[in-house]
Symmetry: C3
Subunit: 341 residues, 3 copies
Amino acid sequence: MKQLTLGSIAERIGARLVGDADYVVTGLAPLVSASPDHLSFLSNMKYKQQLATTRAGAVILHPDQAHLFSRHRLLLDNPYVGYAKFSQQFAYKPHFNGIDKTARIDSTAVLGLNVNLAAGTVIGPNVRLGDNVTLGPNTIVGSDSIVGGNTNIAANVTLYHNVKVGNNCIIHSSAVIGADGFGFARDGSNWVKIAQLGGVIIGDNVEIGAGTTIDCGALSSTLIGTGVKLDNQIQIGHNVELGDHTAIAGCSAIAGSTKLGKYCTVAGACGIVGHLNIADGVHITAMSRVTNSIAKAGVYSSGTALDKNKNWRRNAARFKQLDQLVKRIKQLETNIFHLGR
Amino acid sequence: MKQLTLGSIAERIGARLVGDADYVVTGLAPLVSASPDHLSFLSNMKYKQQLATTRAGAVILHPDQAHLFSRHRLLLDNPYVGYAKFSQQFAYKPHFNGIDKTARIDSTAVLGLNVNLAAGTVIGPNVRLGDNVTLGPNTIVGSDSIVGGNTNIAANVTLYHNVKVGNNCIIHSSAVIGADGFGFARDGSNWVKIAQLGGVIIGDNVEIGAGTTIDCGALSSTLIGTGVKLDNQIQIGHNVELGDHTAIAGCSAIAGSTKLGKYCTVAGACGIVGHLNIADGVHITAMSRVTNSIAKAGVYSSGTALDKNKNWRRNAARFKQLDQLVKRIKQLETNIFHLGR
Amino acid sequence: MKQLTLGSIAERIGARLVGDADYVVTGLAPLVSASPDHLSFLSNMKYKQQLATTRAGAVILHPDQAHLFSRHRLLLDNPYVGYAKFSQQFAYKPHFNGIDKTARIDSTAVLGLNVNLAAGTVIGPNVRLGDNVTLGPNTIVGSDSIVGGNTNIAANVTLYHNVKVGNNCIIHSSAVIGADGFGFARDGSNWVKIAQLGGVIIGDNVEIGAGTTIDCGALSSTLIGTGVKLDNQIQIGHNVELGDHTAIAGCSAIAGSTKLGKYCTVAGACGIVGHLNIADGVHITAMSRVTNSIAKAGVYSSGTALDKNKNWRRNAARFKQLDQLVKRIKQLETNIFHLGR
């Protein structure tokens, strides 16, 4: 069990401590379930009233709320960031130790210091793994691929050949990086495969969720910027470019050659078609479809809102008449204009 | 080849036999392709007329249809359930026998009786596997995870650490249980990772489809109720709670902290955003988006219906003018009111 | 480095060479980045003006554009097909050589000539692998499955039992073929599993993307026609039938028992519900939902177009009033009719 003093925590998360620097906490919990040996936090104001009743020994909060809690306080302008940084103290560390005897490493591969290769990992020709890289069980790194230092790849991940992963990245299970982009030329009644000759280049501090697939480029490489965060089951087509610090939620798909700017967010289950340019700072709401380039930062949406099926059926039928309805409105306007004269 | 008498089948599926208890069938087939050594069934009334021509030796049907078939009949109020129960007689049994010599089992793991571990399986520290558990080839069970008795996990599945799977569950290939939830705090231009410290708790009799991902909780655990059925490529975010016997079809996604009640059904490719409460007995139709909590049982939908692209383009353009159209209608109503006075 | 003469290339791709048959190229690049030792191509007319400035040594183009480029030309009616065929000269060849010592092959399996089985592959009972089959690391082939000649299966793929893959196929990582279809009968408050007893039959020249899942049939088999191309993360339900040469883009889902014709295209992230019949030559645009059978070739769509969130919110609210709006328009028409008399 971890024993952390409030003094050391304040220093680590950059907070101002109001209370006892030697007070010890052993864990992290929400206000509603915290006990005196827990540090808790208030970032969402809708939980403000829980400060009155929480049993937490100490709380991270904004200076403006400091008066609402009487025990130990860690004051921070962004308490949510404080919570994030503190949470990392309790992060799970994988149990792999060194190189398992069942790991299969090509003789031409170059491994850094302190590399952990779990059981069943397979490292191809000319692979380079940086220092402190960890690969979970049965993970594959294809030939000529590079994994940067401190990167942690979970179990059952596949990196194809010619994939470059940066430093301090995290890749979750069943992710596939570098499979062929979907490219075919129609030759009469047959599809002729276009060989996918590019690679994938992934920046530093990138996280890639479980089951996410990032295809290799057709001629040049697919590019994932620094600090990009990808949730589970995302599909990134060939030659997509994602700007730095862009974050995409689960099950969204981005088709080939589309470029997203920096600091974009794409909510879950969105679809963005190919060959578009999306500016920096664009935010797409959940399950929207993007079929045109977006030149200006802002929030964008498509779709219709949920309704009772009975109502929805009627309205969806009317949607198919919309253009005709507009004509009827125009006719009414003309008729009224004549009547009114 | 199995040889089953109608008497034994009637007993197993709880049907009333009208016919010869010693008649032997060796398989199961639809009415249209069945032969005299097959048992068939009628559950969908649109196939009723096939009773007149089927060559099936025996048929499971509702008593109301008994007069439509003259050979051996197994009468049951719910013939579809009878078919389901009978089909299990022919279910595929995996060919793994005991513990393969290439399985890697941590010395602290505890295995029940009659455990089958196929080639390349990896069992982490402090894992507990119940009796009659089967793990397919190259499946991973992370540290401190528990798999209940009679649970069958297919090939290439990943269970992270701190995942609890109940009894009599089925998990299909490439599923990932317990990967990190998608949690980051924005700190200026960077995303700070929120360590995901909770686990996943899965009840008994749960089935999880191929490629489905269920994230671990942030502080407390993600919860999957008893008897839940999840199809392929579903994404379940951190701290989601699924009520007992809820069923979700392929490619649907449920974002973090949303709670679904019991006996819900979610059709394929739906998206449910985070932090919602969905009541018991809610049914969501295919490809709908849910952005608000639902307090009342019923059927809900969103989206528009398919149309010829040429028509659809016109109507979709009009959708963007809807609010203005309403204003034009209001203006017309005002004008007419004045004209009519 | 490859050294290819224009003469040999012209022969291989079926082009008419205008230039030096002995001129040597070593690679393939877009017009904008090609150098004199590259062959490039023009297929999209929007890049036509790049012919004036490209440094490419030779270009594949349509005879109508031949006058726009003065160096070596390979003339072809479909330059994109020429590019595709030429690109295959540079395709990556996997580095597996023969049968790795860690491959686990059941004694009843039958292997063709020149089979490559990478580390950690597992081949079940009664499996048959054709000549020149390649399986990537940690890939599983379940019992009674068949893989045709020259088929290339990447790492971490799972083929369940009773799956038949044709000749010259490509299957990408984390794909799962033959997992149980999603079939349950409701028995009071419980779901009773319907055993999925059919297989999967995949034709020749099929490509299956990373993370794509194809379920086995319930009684008969799921059928994937010759020349079908499936992108990543597609879900194909039990007993679906895909006609020859149909192509489906990433993240689309097709529910159980639906039949698609030949030469269809389904764009990304579409959903097609179960038990439908879709004619030959149907094209579905991105993120559309199909809930009815389609009897006629053509292009079909659903959904609404992207808009600024602020505008979209207003219009989406109006969508829920559409049926009422139509009633108001009708009332206006009646009133005007009476006023006008």
